[in-house]
Amino acid sequence: MEISKITKETLINLIKEGKRIDERKLEEYREIKFELDVSKNAEGSAMVEIGNTKVVAGIKIDVTKPFRDSPDEGVLIVNAEFLPLAYGEFEPGPPGIEAIELARVVDRGIRESEMIDLKKLCIEEGKYVYSIFIDIYILNHDGNLIDASFLASILALLNSYLPKIVKKYDEWVVEYGQKTDKKLPINRIPILVTGYKLANVWFLDANLIEEKAAEAKISIGFSFDKESRIHAIQKFEGLINFEELEKIIDLFEKKGKEIKKILRI
């Protein structure tokens, strides 16, 4: 869907005055709601709503062989599906480029912040490690899928329990249906914030039509242990200059801290 020129003009006229179509402030998010354990069979799961954007993320854990270049580390895999039920223009079939990019940016934000201590997910070095699958499903698309997906993923990880494993015929396997009381080893909690630019004005948490009108988009992943650290950046479409970047990093950082506070994580 391309938005009409008149809609885009309206958005531009509003944004130039610092206003938005749904009367939010430029840096204001829509209401964020979440629900945990939406699926009993998942090792952990969370549904996140940002306004009308609705995303569910689930964690499944298995035992696999580690990668050759990290024989003592657990495996982390992120996948995202843009379900056709979520939006008229999502089509059935394997993930398209947008879904792949979203999954890879979420992956980077989690992996590079070392949110999960992958070394503690080693069972037998070089032979058996836990593999963590984060599967993200978009249930309703009203813009800013990436922030919602990231929040759903970290909430699901925080509420995951390792499954029971047993040695069968000399091989470690998961005994599904039996969870342990052991949570995932968490080092810190990262947050991803995405900003959009229209008519040289930056704003956060775009809804669907704002997102379609936006001329530039960038996501930044942070952690806030002792000091703020940047772990992931992805510039999507558009151009950004140095001075803008300097300003928006501060804005995103402030917002990231705020979101953590709101969610009490």
């Binding site: 890879r104 590079e112 703020s228 940047i230 992805q234 510039k235 140095f242 950082e253």
Partner: protein
């Protein structure tokens, strides 16, 4: 502590650049770009009619970049065909190049850019973008500017330009201690058209690294211009 670079370069020094135009005779435009032993070639085909027809846009041409690596370009054989990684790089490459081409000059058309990595030692997407930018200019497409791309990052506690694979995988006491930032900037306006980061870095260091990238891009821009001026003219 990372005191001296593995290959002896200064911290803000890029590997020797090689830029050549017209390496693929059949293409409408083509180029090779290398940072030391990271070598990329790019070929442009188009503008040509876009099919299937429902994708045609009467207002502007569609630009599509395809990035991939030859199976033997990396130490461990890469299975031929697109991967999630190559699809993502194709997408960000398209977005890095889009702003400089006057796509509104062409109706219902597509411009395809095919990028192949012949030999990889990190910074492949940036070499690919530099090659593609040259290939687009070689194809004679109307452009606002060239795109210059380089990787910068933090290895140990040092900010460095044009990372090698060894630096990308740098570890201190068994812990990964490397941040990799891929940047593309427009040659004249220095606006950023590609920015990707993964690692662990503070805001101040990031901004410093971008400034280093800016200096490096100036050098790359000069090399690109030089290469373009050497295009051989056919007289018969």
């Amino acid at each position: 502590m990372y005191e001296k670079r593995f290959d002896g370069r200064a911290f803000d020094e890029i590997r020797p650049i090689k830029a050549e135009i017209g390496v693929i005779e059949n293409a409408d435009g083509s180029a090779l770009f290398a940072f030391g032993d990271t070598i990329a070639i790019a070929a442009v085909y188009g503008p040509k009619q876009l099919y299937p027809q429902h994708l045609q846009n009467p207002e502007r041409a569609l630009l599509k970049a395809y990035y991939d690596m030859l199976s033997f370009s990396v130490p461990e054989r890469k299975k031929p065909g697109p991967t999630r990684r190559s699809l993502e790089i194709s997408d960000v490459t398209t977005k890095a190049l889009e702003p400089v081409i006057m796509l509104d000059k062409f109706q219902n058309c597509v411009i395809n850019i095919y990028i192949q990595i012949i030999q990889a030692n990190a910074s492949t997407r940036t070499a690919g973008i530099n090659a593609a930018s040259l290939a687009l200019a070689h194809a004679g497409l109307p452009m606002h500017d060239l795109v210059c791309s380089v990787s910068v990052g933090k290895v140990g506690d040092k900010l460095v330009v044009d990372l090698t694979k060894e630096e990308e995988d740098y570890k201190e006491n068994g812990v990964k201690s490397s941040t990799d930032i891929a940047i593309a900037m427009l040659g004249k306006s220095k606006k950023i058209s590609l920015l990707q980061l993964d690692g662990n870095i503070s805001k101040e260091e990031l901004l410093k690294a971008i400034k280093l990238a800016r200096q490096a891009c100036e050098k790359i821009y000069k090399e690109q211009i030089k290469a373009l001026k050497q295009i051989k003219q056919k007289w018969v």
